[in-house]
């Protein structure tokens, strides 16, 4: 059992141990501790820390480092990640690898400082221009976040894609016992610049978008087929299945346990990757399921869209109702989820799809 450690610090240390060579970013609550910790720690291991003048500059510095084939990192929240969208789209277009941490906070615009899950659509669809996608990892505990950090880079490098580590304010700020991984010394990526023009490129005006479209689709299909990650329980005989990720996912697990003990046949799917969405988990759901319920920390329901789409793809012969329990911000209590189920069963909460 590891020592107690704060979420943001643990994630930052995990990045150091994964061999990150550059962090460039800007402070923004609730991610700032990552940056502050790395300002001291990266120079200790001979890596670079840059306090960038803005989030925008930060993602572009990460792009420069990623272009050189080394592991680079930035972390931010809400509006800061908005500023990074152009950079993320460009990094994706250049097929470079990097990790962006979004410690999600609630709200539009400047938003608030509450923990939330209101960036789901943006991260899973990509908020920048074009057809790109990012792999999105959603840890439900500090240990899981730490374990996923090296994976985030491995996936980014395997597919030459941006990996978004989508945590949440509460995860960044809380403390849990955690075992930290060993140090890795990653190899320079073969496509990284070495100054000698070893890896050949063509100018942007000479590219063939038709050919690239085929390759892009292939890449996405491969990722969808091979990189789905999730946790599930109680699906085989479930009347209702909850879908929730991150800390709300953990709370829902607790609710499911209590509901089962009370005799309700319920199960849960906790996506660990929200892109690729864990469609395979849905195949394990009881074919006579009565409804799917997303539990998420935002106002309008975002995860629910993917839940509805996926159950429609999976159970084709009838319309399975999909419900949404948006708790707006924070972490829904077990009580919230249980009461939500009762309201759904009584008809007080209508289906979203």
């Amino acid at each position: 059992m590891g020592d107690m450690i704060k979420g943001n610090i643990a994630i930052a240390e995990a990045a150091v141990r994964a061999g990150v060579k550059l962090y460039a970013g800007y402070p923004i609550t609730p991610s700032t501790e990552i940056m502050e910790y790395l300002s001291k720690r990266l120079p200790e291991v001979g890596a670079s820390f840059v306090q960038a003048e803005s989030e925008l500059a930060g993602i572009n510095m990460v792009m420069g480092a990623a272009a050189c084939g080394v592991r680079a990192l930035t972390a931010s929240s809400g509006p800061g990640i908005s500023l990074k969208q152009e950079g993320i789209s460009c990094i994706s277009d250049e097929e470079l690898a990097c990790v962006v941490i979004n410690v999600v906070r609630y709200g539009n615009g400047l938003g608030t400082l509450y923990s939330a899950q209101c960036d789901y659509h943006r991260e899973t669809r990509g908020g920048g221009n074009g057809d790109y996608r990012c792999i999105v990892l959603c840890p439900g505990s500090i240990q899981e976040a730490v374990d996923l950090m090296a994976t985030a880079y491995e996936l980014a490098e395997k597919y030459r894609i941006v990996t978004v580590m989508m945590t949440e304010g509460a995860l960044g700020q809380m403390m849990e016992p955690c075992e930290l991984p060993d140090f890795i010394e990653p190899e320079k990526h073969p496509w990284g610049f070495d100054g000698k023009y070893t890896y050949k490129k063509i100018g942007i005006f000479d590219r063939n978008s038709m050919d690239e479209a085929v390759e892009l689709n292939k890449k996405h299909e491969t990722i969808k087929a091979e990189e789905q990650r999730w946790e599930e329980e109680g699906l085989e005989d479930a009347d209702y299945v909850f879908v929730a990720f991150g800390l709300p996912g953990r709370s829902v697990q607790g609710a499911v346990k209590e509901l089962r003990a009370e005799g309700h046949k319920v199960g849960f799917i906790r996506p660990i990757t929200t892109w690729p969405f864990p469609e395979k988990a849905f195949e394990n759901i009881n074919k006579d399921v009565k409804g799917l319920i997303s539990v998420e920390a935002n106002a309008t329901g975002q995860l629910v869209d993917d839940v509805a789409l996926t159950i429609k793809k999976t159970i084709k012969d009838r319309n399975v109702s999909t419900y949404c329990l948006p708790c707006v911000y924070g972490i829904p209590t077990i009580k919230f989820t249980k009461e939500g189920l009762h309201k759904i069963m009584s008809g007080e909460i209508k289906e979203a799809y």
Binding site: L56, N60, M63, G64, D194
Partner: protein
């Protein structure tokens, strides 16, 4: 015996610049200096958006097409992780001084150890000749059709002077490509900037007054004349921040 003159191999390709555009002269000078300093197989370009982008199809080197305005931030990231490579950010006046002013200034502010070459042709060339922050007072562009009114748009920006007077940088200069004499002087400035980088002295910037015959609606020769008669009096040539004596 004449001096041998050959365009460096890393740029010896046809490029789509307009006839009489200054970019072709400048990139040749940069690559000549890199060859002479033994860095032509040890370099990475961070290219800006605009006419600068056309270099992507001509350069046979490591090069990245950076988002508009951000080349100085990208170059910062590159130099921090691979300081042993020579890093050149190559941006136009729109890329570096308008949309990219924050990243450009901040790289100078931090005295990042790369070389920035800014091509100043007093307009946004690639997109058809809009006003830029270096457009002269009264200059007609597609977004200042009655001539630039500096009272509402600001005065033309003098970046090397700004950097030299406010920040602790290694080298700041401005040159022009109007005459053989100016081209040769410019080459010396570029070489100085690159040497400052190789020596680890810090940030170097060389701005180049360059013709844009297409958008100025002047012949190549008259464009050079415009630089000599109208631009140089406002944007003086020379070194604004000398390298420190070793």
């Amino acid at each position: 015996m004449a001096k041998a003159r050959k365009v460096p191999a890393i740029i010896d390709n046809p490029m789509s610049f307009c006839p009489g555009c200054g970019h072709g002269i400048v990139i040749r000078l940069i690559t000549e200096c890199l060859e002479e300093l033994g860095q032509d197989q040890n370099l990475i370009f961070a290219l800006g958006v605009g006419c600068s982008s056309l270099l992507g199809g001509g350069l046979v080197t490591d090069r990245l097409h950076c988002p508009h305005g951000r080349a100085s931030a990208v170059a910062t990231g590159m130099k921090r992780v691979q300081p042993e490579n020579t890093i050149v950010a190559y941006q136009g006046d729109g890329d570096a001084y308008s949309i990219g002013i924050a990243e450009t200034i901040n790289a100078a502010y931090r005295n990042e150890n790369f070389t920035m070459i800014a091509i100043n042709n007093t307009n946004y060339g690639m997109t058809g000749g809009q006003m830029s922050w270096t457009t002269m007072p009264g200059q007609v562009t597609t977004t200042s059709p009655l001539g630039r009114d500096c009272e509402i748009t600001g005065n033309p920006l003098k970046f090397p002077e700004l950097v030299a007077s406010q920040f602790d940088v290694a080298f700041a200069a401005r040159g022009a490509v109007t005459t053989p004499k100016n081209v040769n002087k410019l080459k010396k400035y570029i070489k100085n900037g690159l040497e400052a980088q190789l020596n680890g002295e810090g940030y170097s910037v060389i701005e180049v007054l360059s013709p844009c015959p297409t958008n100025w609606k002047l012949s190549p020769l008259n464009s050079m004349k415009r630089i000599e008669e109208e631009l140089i009096p406002y944007y003086p040539l020379g070194v604004f921040k000398e390298r420190k004596e070793n």
